[in-house]
């Protein structure tokens, strides 16, 4: 187990190193990269001065080296526009994104898994077909449009929820305020993730529903609810957890758009603003952070397998 953990952490570090190389060289070798910042200056001296100020006169590998060692110390450099350090901004924005992501994940799991179970048990019923049709539709509607429509309905027409922004926590934390501001964005993000989760739960459960040990359990007189939860679901759970691990990158990608629609100051919105303002240090920091979250989740998912299914042993 310890060996497995060490190996997986090692692999994760390698992937993280590769991600840092990919982002750094993509950004620094592209024609519009940081070196282009100097092109607006008129004289050669001014251009050279800007390059020196940004450290662009050094060889590329040296620059990667100093950037990467900075990152290891938690220093992502300064923003291009204001010159403030990126790290504290990233940390603050990450908080908002994690709140949004976790709320959306909880919502999709709480709704998606039971819905998957019911549709698997009542296969080919009207409910099954309607959920299937709704999932196909849900997969096809753009998330930003769902967001806009949700605002149109709940904030503009019904006027029951705020159209955008975070809850004001200056007067102390209030759960109801937090929920009021988070329910629309998290709901829309969850809506986007739901179809995959429902379908996958249904498919995984259907695969085990015909198994002999379920017939045995029923023959012993075990109640149907217990058969499903204790016997069938337990075995269908590994692929479902794997699916949740796969949903996470999509959840992060989705947060980019959802945060923009709902005016939430999260990591996704930070990435958009950085891309619009060509703020390279911020872009590299955000991309690296997103990759780190994904790698970490995959590790957690792998470890979760052993808890769910004792037959899986990592050694």
């Amino acid at each position: 187990m310890v060996g497995f953990l060490g190996r997986r952490i090692g692999q994760g570090m390698v992937v993280l190193l590769l991600i840092s190389l990919v982002t750094f060289f993509l950004i620094n070798l592209a024609p519009g990269g940081p070196s282009a910042a100097a092109r607006f200056e008129s004289t050669a001296e001014e251009r050279a001065a800007i390059q020196k100020q940004l450290g662009l006169d050094r060889p590329l590998l040296t620059r990667y080296g100093s950037w990467a060692t900075g990152v290891l110390r938690g220093d992502f450099g300064a923003t291009l526009s204001g010159g403030q350090p990126v790290a504290p901004i990233l940390r603050q924005r990450l908080g908002t994104t994690l709140q949004l992501g976790l709320a959306a994940l909880v919502l999709s799991v709480v709704i998606g898994i039971p819905l998957g179970i019911i549709t698997a048990m009542r296969r080919n019923s009207v409910l099954d077909h309607s959920v299937n049709a709704l999932s196909t539709l849900g997969m096809s509607v753009p998330d930003f449009w769902t967001g806009i429509m949700a605002i149109l309905l709940f904030a503009v027409t019904l006027k029951v929820l705020p159209a955008s922004g975070l809850a004001d926590m200056s007067a102390g934390f209030s759960l109801s305020e937090w929920l009021r501001h988070m329910i629309l964005p998290a709901g829309v993000l969850a809506f986007v993730m739901l179809p995959n989760l429902v379908r996958f739960t249904r498919a995984s459960l259907l695969e085990v529903l015909g198994a002999d040990y379920l017939r045995t359990a029923r023959a012993k007189g075990v109640r149907e609810g217990r058969v499903i939860v204790k016997h069938a679901l337990r075995n269908a759970f590994v692929p479902i957890v794997a699916m949740i691990g796969l949903i996470l990158p999509a959840l992060l990608s989705g947060s980019v758009i959802i945060e923009s629609v709902f005016g939430l100051p999260g990591m996704g919105r930070l990435a958009v603003d950085a891309a619009l303002g060509r703020d390279y240090n911020t872009i590299m920091a955000v991309t690296l952070a997103a990759g780190f979250i994904v790698i970490l989740t995959n590790l957690v998912v792998d470890l979760a397998y052993t808890v769910i299914d004792p037959r899986i042993r990592h050694d």
Binding site: V15, M193, R199, P249, L252
Partner: protein, 292 residues
């Protein structure tokens, strides 16, 4: 994992030689999706010849107008004809989605086929690269690329294609590693066929159905990605219309004119829905095991 593209389980290679197209056209959902898409493409590419309103002429005195004989769906916040923008925007959005998937299919097939066929260190190296790209949520990578490369339509196409190639590479790799062990490949090798001939003439064509299904679902993902980027102001730039950038100002104006926000979203959803359905039908037809 993108939501539009559920990766199909790598299925058995279908040996039966019934044409895929006739079976697709006999499938009720398949034929409906094909027909609706045909209408959407015809409207985008031929529609402007029939409906002659300009998509870029602004009219300051006639903004957010209601539908009339002159403007069948009314005008937007700058007085531009909404229907004309939908038609021209369709050209951009539908073209980008297809071309970007050609990019993804080309790179993904090349990497996946080489990794699956040669194995050894080639496989390790290439698939680790695929893992790396899969570990970065694609939207962040696309944003980073657009920040440095700009947002000309050609760049947007390439960048979206680059966001999807790892998924193609993964499925082609899985298929090719399986097919390379079949006897007909051994027979080809015994006859003296070169490695590249074996890959591209014998092995890869067998992996193509699985890649095609994924790419069809990829088109749906690509439409969502391009429109999302354009909505954020990072994709296709006005005055050029895209279904996504038509929604850019929707949130400012839906207080007065909600229809401005509804039309573009509805056509995006319709196009994406059809590509998703088409992909699902193709998957059922090429891999019967995936049906539940």
């Amino acid at each position: 994992m993108t939501r539009a593209a559920t990766v199909p389980p790598a299925g058995e290679v279908r040996q039966r030689r019934t044409g895929l197209l006739p079976r697709l056209l006999r499938h009720p959902v398949g034929i409906t999706a094909v027909l609706v898409l045909a209408v959407l493409y015809a409207a985008a590419f031929l529609g402007p010849f029939v409906y002659s309103a300009s998509p870029i002429t602004t009219d300051a005195l006639n903004t957010t107008a209601s539908p009339s004989a002159q403007h069948l769906l009314g005008t937007d916040e700058l007085g531009r004809d909404v229907l004309a923008r939908l038609l021209y925007g369709g050209r951009i959005t539908l073209t980008i989605s297809i071309v970007s998937m050609v990019v993804a299919l080309s790179i993904g097939s090349l990497v996946g086929a080489l990794a699956g066929f040669y194995q050894g260190w080639t496989e390790t190296l290439l698939m680790r690269l695929v893992d790396t790209f899969m570990a970065i949520p694609s939207f962040f990578l696309i944003l980073a690329a657009i920040a440095v490369l700009g947002n000309a339509p050609a760049v947007v196409v390439t960048v979206i294609g680059l966001g999807f190639w790892p998924q193609v590479a993964r499925i082609v790799h899985a298929e090719v590693s399986k097919i390379r062990n079949f006897e007909f490949v051994e027979a080809g090798r015994a006859l003296g066929a070169s490695g590249s001939r074996l890959i591209w003439r014998h092995v890869f064509p067998q992996a193509l159905p699985a890649a095609a299904v994924l790419t069809t679902l990829g088109i749906a993902w690509s439409i969502l990605t391009e429109t999302g980027l354009s909505y954020l102001g990072l994709g296709i730039q006005p005055p050029l219309a895209s279904w996504g950038n038509m929604l850019q100002n929707a949130q400012t104006y839906f207080w007065v004119k909600p229809m401005l926000a509804i039309y573009p979203g509805a056509v995006i959803a319709l196009a994406v829905l059809c590509f998703n359905l088409l992909g699902n039908v193709l998957r059922d037809l090429t891999d019967p095991r995936s049906r539940f």
